[in-house]
């Protein structure tokens, strides 16, 4: 499976997931396990976190796309992930534009420079 390339997982609102599935990223494997989760108003935080951790543990997933407002809900889980694969990409959603100051990767890069280091 690794030789054939990895999947792109999507965790987001209906429009984001629909768009990326139209693009051809969707997969239902033989156990009918999806590589996406449509987050609706009634989706609980536990479900989101479980889906995210499930994607992280899957070896066939290379990139996880997650709406930034959902990433904010499970920020602790995203900050704890420090492996290169799968890469976690925070993307905007219809109601919430992308804010670079909230992005985990950019916040880490910003944290490189402390006053002590620049002496």
């Amino acid at each position: 499976m690794a030789g054939r390339g990895k999947l792109i997982a999507v965790l987001g609102d209906e429009d984001t997931v629909t768009g990326f599935l139209l693009g051809g990223v969707g997969e239902l494997d033989k156990h009918r396990r999806p590589n996406f989760l449509v987050v609706e108003k009634e989706t609980s935080l536990a479900e989101i976190e479980e889906a995210f951790r499930g994607f992280l543990s899957r070896e066939d997933i290379g990139i996880i796309l997650i709406n930034q407002f959902i990433a904010e809900m499970i920020r602790h889980a995203i900050d704890a992930h420090n492996k290169s694969i799968p890469a976690v990409l925070e993307i905007p959603s219809k109601e919430h534009p992308y804010d670079a100051s909230k992005d985990s990767i950019l916040r880490r890069a910003k944290g490189m420079f402390t006053a002590e280091d620049l002496r």
């Binding site: 054939r4 390339g5 990895k6 999947l7 792109i8 209906e14 429009d15 984001t16 997931v17 629909t18 768009g19 990326f20 599935l21 139209l22 693009g23 051809g24 990223v25 969707g26 997969e27 239902l28 999806p34 590589n35 449509v38 290379g62 990139i63 796309l65 290169s84 694969i85 890469a87 990409l89 993307i91 905007p92 219809k94 534009p97 992308y98 670079a100 990767i105 950019l106 880490r108 890069a109 490189m112 280091d117």
Partner: protein, 211 residues
Amino acid sequence: MAPAEDRGPTEICEELDQTILHLFDVLELLQTKRESFNSLVEQGWFSLSKSRYAMGNKCVSALQYGHQMKPLVRVDTRKKEEGQVEFHVVSEGADTSKPKVEKTATVEEIGPSDQVLRRRKGTGKTDAPIQPEEEISQPAEKSGKQDPLTWFGILVPQSLRQAQKTFQEGIRLTAEIASLQSEVETTRRRYRALLEEKRQISAKENVPEQL
């Protein structure tokens, strides 16, 4: 990379400067890619909304997703030095080698069940269930690779096709963004390591001065 003893503070400081400059270049590129990705996604949503207007509100929703999905795009990962990973989008479709292997696997699985059916041959209905199984498996493989556009109908509006194209372009950019993010992380780690090295060297140099 030269061993720590060979390098003086000047060399390390120069390398630190180079690393920071490289990081800024990568961050700038990342921001540019992010902006184009965000505008593509916005265009995609707009096209999806136009399709909803044309087809009806419930015709473009999660309820329409196919029952079988096979990815049409995958990402190829290549590990570079210092743990950096490069992502490349690979379109599926030309790859037909794997389904053949899966076919042979299903034939092997049928073997024992065939034996079980042979024991019941007295009923005279053994051939009937085997044939539909083969018939079902072939269309399933074909339909698994179907264009996601067909979930929403056969004659879909142009705006939905436009949305698909836009999101496909977006997917290509995600691989580039993921590669850049990995580069930012690697550069950050290299910077921290160099800074630590610099601290150790300056600590060694400061000790004799104090004595």
